[in-house]
C-alpha cells in the first residue's frame, strides 16, 4: 500500500489534477473577490465594533456552536447507533424518518416554535383554557438555549446520516468481535464505536458548525448577537461593507484553523479500516420492552422535531390559505426545481471529479484541495451572494464583445441577469455538503478498482465512470439528497441573485416571514418541506432497495 502511494506521488501532474484545481479556483472566485476587499486598517467603525460588539458576538457564537454541536452530536450519534446496531419493530420506517427534520429550514422552525410558545400560541392558549397560569418566561424560546434547540433538531441529521451509514457498512467485524469478547454496551460504545465513527462524526459536526456560524435567520429573530448577526448589523447599520467583510474573513479563517487542528489531531491516530474490508454490521434484535422503548423514544423525538412544528404549520396554512397568493404556483415550483436540480447535479459532478482526482495526489495537496472546496460553506450566504455578483459583473464585462458578436443589441449583464449566476452561487456555497459524502466514498474504495481497470486498458476517468461510480451509488445519492435539501431551503442567495421576476418557494417564504406573517409563510414553507421529504423518501428507497442488495 505504502509503496503504491509513493509511486503515485511521483507521477506527473495530470490533466485530471489540473482540471480539478481549475474547478476549485473557479468556485472560489467569489470568495477571492470578497477577500480582496478586506481592509485591515483600523477605522472608527472597526474600533466601535471592537469596543461594543466583539465580546457578545464571539461569546454568543462560541456557546451557540458548542452547545449545538453537543446536543446535535448526542442526538445524531444516539439514533445512528440505535438504528445501525439494533433491530426493532418498524426500523425500516424510522430509519429514514429520522432524516426528515433536516427538511425544515432552521429559521422557519424558529418562527414556528416561537409562535407555538407565544401568548397566542397553542400551548399557552390551552393552559389558559384549563385555568393553568403559566409564566411567559417559562416558555420563552427566543434566547440562546432556544436557538441551540432549534439548530439541534433541524441539523442533527447531518450527523445521524454520516454516522449511521458508516456504522452500517464498515464496522461489522469490529463491533461483532467486541460483542463476542463480551464488551458491555457502554464499553463497546466508548472503546470501539466512538473511535470508529470519529471521521464521519467530525465531518457531520463540521457541517453543523458551518451551518450555525453562517446562519442569520434564527439569531436575527431571537435577537442573539453572534458573528453572523454582527456581520449583518455592521453592514446594514453602518452602511459600509468593511467591517462585515473583515469579520466574515476572520470567521472563515477560524473555521479553516479548526479544521486544520482536527486534521492534525486525526493524523496521529488514524483508524484505518482496510479499505473495503469492513462488512455490514449484524444488528441485534431488541425484544419486548427494549424494542418498544426505542420506538417510543424515536417517536417522541420525531414528534418534537417534525410532527408538531409541521402540524402547527398545517393549521396556520389552513387559517391563512385564502390570503396567500398562489396564482403563479406552477411557475414558482418550476423555477425552484430548476435551480435546485441544476446546482445539485453540478455540485455532485464537480465533487466526483475532485474526489476522484484527489486519490492520486500527495496527501497534503489533496487535503488543501478538499479544504478549498469548503470555503463557501463557512461564509454567510449574503456575503457569498455579493462576491458572486462581483465576479459575474466582471465576467459579463469580459464577455460583452462576444455577446455583441451574436446579437448586436445584447445587453451587457447577460449572465448576471440569468439563473446562471444563481446556480453558480449555490455551487460555491454548498460544495462542502456534497463533498463530504462523495469524498469519503472515494477514499473508502481507494484506487484498487481503478488500478485494476487500468491494467485492463481502460483510462482512469472511464474506469471511474463505469466501475467506481456505480459502486458509490448510495453515497452519491446521500450527497444528492443533502445538497438538494440544503439548496431548496436556502434563502439569502435566492433572494439577491434572482433574475427579474424569478420567484421561488424560498423567496415566497421570506416575503411573508419577513413581514411577520408566519401563517401565510407556512404555505410555501410546507411546500418546501414536502418537496424535500419527497426527495428523502424517494432516494432512501432507491438506495435501500437496489444499492443494498447489490452490496451483499
Amino acid at each position: 500500500m505504502n509503496i503504491l502511494k509513493k509511486t503515485n506521488i511521483k507521477r506527473k501532474v495530470s490533466i485530471r489534477t489540473l482540471l480539478a484545481f481549475l474547478f476549485i479556483i473557479i468556485i472560489n472566485l467569489p470568495i477571492i473577490a470578497i477577500i480582496s476587499r478586506v481592509n485591515f486598517s483600523s477605522n472608527d467603525n472597526w474600533e466601535h465594533f471592537k469596543q461594543y460588539l466583539l465580546l457578545d458576538a464571539v461569546s454568543n457564537t462560541f456557546y451557540l456552536v458548542l452547545f449545538t454541536l453537543l446536543l446535535s452530536g448526542i442526538i445524531g450519534v444516539l439514533f445512528a447507533v440505535i438504528v445501525a446496531l439494533f433491530d426493532f419493530p418498524l426500523k425500516h420506517l424510522f430509519k429514514w424518518v429520522l432524516y426528515i427534520p433536516i427538511t425544515i429550514p432552521p429559521y422557519i422552525a424558529a418562527y414556528v416554535y416561537a409562535g407555538m410558545l407565544s401568548y397566542t400560541g397553542i400551548i399557552q392558549r390551552l393552559c389558559r383554557s384549563w385555568g393553568i397560569d403559566l409564566k411567559p418566561q417559562w416558555l420563552d424560546i427566543m434566547n440562546l438555549r432556544g436557538a441551540v434547540f432549534i439548530y439541534s433538531i433541524t441539523l442533527y441529521p447531518y450527523i445521524y446520516g454520516a454516522v449511521k451509514s458508516f456504522l452500517e457498512n464498515h464496522s461489522g467485524n469490529l463491533v461483532d468481535t467486541a460483542r463476542v469478547l463480551g464488551y458491555k454496551p457502554i464499553k463497546l460504545f466508548g472503546k470501539v464505536i466512538l473511535p470508529l465513527i470519529r471521521i464521519p462524526l467530525i465531518g457531520g459536526l463540521m457541517l453543523v458548525m458551518m451551518e450555525v456560524v453562517s446562519d442569520y435567520g434564527v439569531v436575527k429573530y431571537f435577537n442573539i448577537q453572534t458573528m453572523s448577526s454582527t456581520i449583518f448589523q455592521s453592514w446594514f447599520g453602518m452602511g459600509e461593507t468593511g467591517v462585515a467583510i473583515r469579520l466574515s474573513f476572520y470567521v472563515m479563517i477560524c473555521i479553516i484553523a479548526l479544521q486544520g487542528i482536527e486534521e492534525i489531531m486525526r493524523g496521529r491516530k488514524k483508524y484505518v479500516i482496510g479499505s473495503g474490508r469492513g462488512r455490514p454490521i449484524k444488528p441485534v434484535k431488541l425484544k419486548g420492552f427494549k424494542g418498544y422503548a426505542v420506538i417510543i423514544l424515536i417517536t417522541l423525538f420525531i414528534g418534537i422535531a417534525f410532527i408538531v412544528p409541521v402540524g402547527q404549520m398545517l393549521v396556520w396554512a389552513m387559517l391563512a390559505f385564502y390570503k396567500v397568493n398562489l396564482s403563479n404556483l406552477n411557475q414558482i415550483l418550476f423555477n425552484t426545481l430548476i435551480y435546485c436540480i441544476l446546482a445539485t447535479v453540478l455540485i455532485l459532478a464537480l465533487n466526483v471529479w475532485i474526489a476522484h482526482s484527489r486519490r492520486w495526489m500527495a496527501a497534503k495537496s489533496g487535503l488543501i484541495m478538499s479544504k478549498l472546496t469548503q470555503l463557501g460553506y463557512s461564509m454567510p450566504g449574503a456575503i457569498i451572494a455579493v462576491g458572486t455578483i462581483t465576479v459575474f459583473v466582471a465576467i459579463d464585462g469580459l464577455l460583452h464583445p462576444l455577446y455583441r458578436y451574436f446579437d448586436p443589441n445584447s445587453k451587457k449583464l447577460l449572465l448576471s441577469s440569468s439563473i446562471t449566476m444563481l446556480v453558480f452561487a449555490f455551487v460555491v456555497r454548498y460544495m462542502a455538503i456534497g463533498f463530504n459524502s462523495v469524498n469519503s466514498a472515494f477514499a473508502k474504495i481507494g484506487v484498487k478498482y481503478n488500478d485494476a481497470a487500468r491494467t485492463l486498458g481502460i483510462g482512469r476517468t472511464k474506469a471511474m465512470m463505469k466501475i467506481e461510480l456505480p459502486m458509490l451509488k448510495s453515497s452519491l445519492i446521500t450527497g444528492f439528497i443533502l445538497t438538494f435539501i440544503d439548496i431548496i431551503k436556502e434563502l439569502p442567495l435566492t433572494l439577491l441573485l434572482r433574475p427579474f421576476n424569478y420567484n421561488t418557494l424560498a423567496s415566497r417564504v421570506y416575503e411573508y416571514a419577513n413581514d411577520e406573517r408566519i401563517h401565510e409563510a407556512s404555505v410555501p414553507a410546507l411546500i418546501i418541506i414536502s418537496l424535500s421529504t419527497l426527495a428523502v423518501i424517494l432516494l432512501v428507497r432507491i438506495s435501500s432497495g437496489k444499492g443494498g442488495i447489490k452490496k451483499r
Binding site: 448589523q233 443589441n409 433572494l495 439577491l496
Partner: protein
C-alpha cells in the same frame, strides 16, 4: 449492466440540465431581444424592491394594464440590493429602486445610485418632508412608530411623549425589539435631529433601563408580550398592529383588541413616521417608464390601494386612510426631513450599541 445504466443516466441527466440551463437563459434573452425587433416594442421597467407585498404585485399589474409597460421585479433586502446596484454600476438593468425605509433611500442617493427626477405630479402629490430635497427619491406610503399599551393596565392619560417612556415609573414595563431593527434606528435618528445627540443617547439609555425583557422577536411579538403580561407598553409600527387586528388567527385578533394605539409627542415634535419610497436609478435604461411608475404609485388609485390593503398611511392628501387607521385618530407627525434619518443612521446605530440596546 446496471452500472452502465446508472452512469448513462447520470450523463444524460447532466447534459440535459446543462442544456436546459442554456436554454432558459437564452430563451429569456430571446424574448427580450425578440421584443426589440418588433415594430411596436413592448415597454418595460426593471424594478429592484425590498417591499414584498402581494398587494404591490397587483398594483404593478394595474400599472401594466394602464400603460402597457411591463414591470420586471427583483425583490431582496434593501442593503443587499444597494450592494448589487453598486456592483453592477453603469451596466445595471435596474431602472427603479424601491425600499421601505427613508434611511436606505438616502443611502442609495449618497452612494450615487440614484438620479434626480423633475416631475410636477410627484411634487404636487407628495408633501415636501416625505421626499428628497433634491428630488432623488419620493416617499409614497407612511407608517408611524407609536406606543401600544394594555387597555386594562395603562391609563392613556399617563402617556405623553417618547421621552416620557424613560421615566423610572415605567421600569420593567417597556417592550421593544432589537437595535438591528431599522425602525428603531430611524426612530433614534429622528431624536438625534430633534433633541441632539446627547439627549438622544440619554433617551436610548433610559429605554434600555426600563425594558421589560431583553429585546427579541419582531414588532408583533412585542404586542403579544403585552398581552402575556411581560410588559405594559410596546413601541411598534402601526402597520404591524393593523396586521394583528386582521390576523387569520382569531386568538391573536382577540388578544390585540385588548391593546390600543397611542400617538406620542402630540404637543411636541410629533409622532415618528417613516416612508416607503423609490428613486430612479442613476444609470436607468428606461428612465421615462420608471418615472411613470413612480407617478402611478403616487397617484390616487395606488394610494387608495396602499391605504386599504396594507395598513399604511397614504401620502396623497386627497386619499383617506383605511377605516381602521382612521379609527385610531389623526395625529401630528414629526416634521423631520426624512433624509436626516439616513444621514444620522450610522450615529444612531452606534448610540444603540453604546447604551447596550441589544
Amino acid at each position: 449492466m446496471k452500472a452502465f445504466k446508472f452512469t448513462k443516466l447520470l450523463a444524460i441527466g447532466l447534459t440535459a440540465t446543462m442544456l436546459f440551463a442554456g436554454c432558459s437563459s437564452t430563451s429569456q434573452k430571446a424574448t427580450e431581444s425578440g421584443s426589440k425587433g418588433d415594430e411596436t416594442k413592448p415597454e418595460y421597467v426593471n424594478l429592484y424592491t425590498d417591499r414584498h407585498y402581494d398587494s404591490d404585485d397587483s398594483l404593478y399589474n394595474a400599472f401594466t394594464q394602464k400603460t402597457g409597460i411591463k414591470v420586471n421585479i427583483v425583490k431582496g433586502k434593501s442593503d443587499e440590493l444597494i450592494e448589487r446596484l453598486k456592483t453592477e454600476g453603469a451596466d445595471t438593468e435596474a431602472d427603479l429602486f424601491i425600499t421601505a425605509d427613508a434611511g436606505r433611500l438616502h443611502r442609495a442617493k449618497s452612494s450615487s445610485l440614484l438620479q434626480p427626477v423633475d416631475s410636477q405630479i410627484l411634487k404636487a402629490n407628495i408633501p415636501e418632508n416625505l421626499r428628497d430635497s433634491e428630488n432623488y427619491w419620493f416617499g409614497f406610503t407612511k407608517r408611524a412608530r407609536v406606543i401600544v399599551y394594555a387597555k386594562d393596565r395603562i391609563n392613556p392619560a399617563e402617556l405623553s411623549t417618547y421621552e416620557n417612556l424613560t421615566n423610572p415609573k415605567w421600569k420593567g414595563k417597556i417592550l421593544v425589539r432589537g437595535s438591528d431593527s431599522i425602525y428603531n434606528q430611524s426612530l433614534l435618528a429622528s431624536f438625534i435631529e430633534i433633541m441632539g445627540e446627547e439627549n438622544a443617547k440619554k433617551w436610548a439609555a433610559g429605554i434600555v433601563a426600563n425594558m421589560a425583557r431583553a429585546p427579541k422577536g419582531g414588532d408583533r411579538d412585542q404586542a403579544k408580550a403585552i398581552a402575556a403580561g411581560e410588559g405594559d407598553i410596546a413601541i411598534m409600527n402601526t402597520y404591524y398592529f393593523g396586521l394583528m387586528l386582521n390576523s387569520s388567527d382569531p386568538e391573536e385578533k382577540k388578544v390585540t383588541e385588548k391593546l390600543a394605539v397611542f400617538f406620542p409627542d402630540q404637543d411636541g415634535s410629533g409622532t415618528h413616521i417613516n416612508v416607503s419610497g423609490g428613486g430612479v436609478v442613476k444609470d436607468a435604461k428606461n428612465k421615462e417608464n420608471a418615472i411613470k411608475l413612480l407617478e402611478f404609485l403616487a397617484g390616487e388609485k395606488a394610494q387608495k390601494s396602499y391605504a386599504e390593503a396594507n395598513y399604511e398611511y397614504p401620502v396623497l392628501k386627497s386619499v383617506d386612510s383605511s377605516d381602521l387607521l382612521k379609527s385610531w385618530g389623526s395625529f401630528k407627525e414629526q416634521s423631520v426631513s426624512l433624509s436626516k434619518l439616513g444621514e444620522l443612521n450610522e450615529k444612531a446605530v452606534k448610540i444603540l450599541n453604546e447604551v447596550g440596546w441589544k
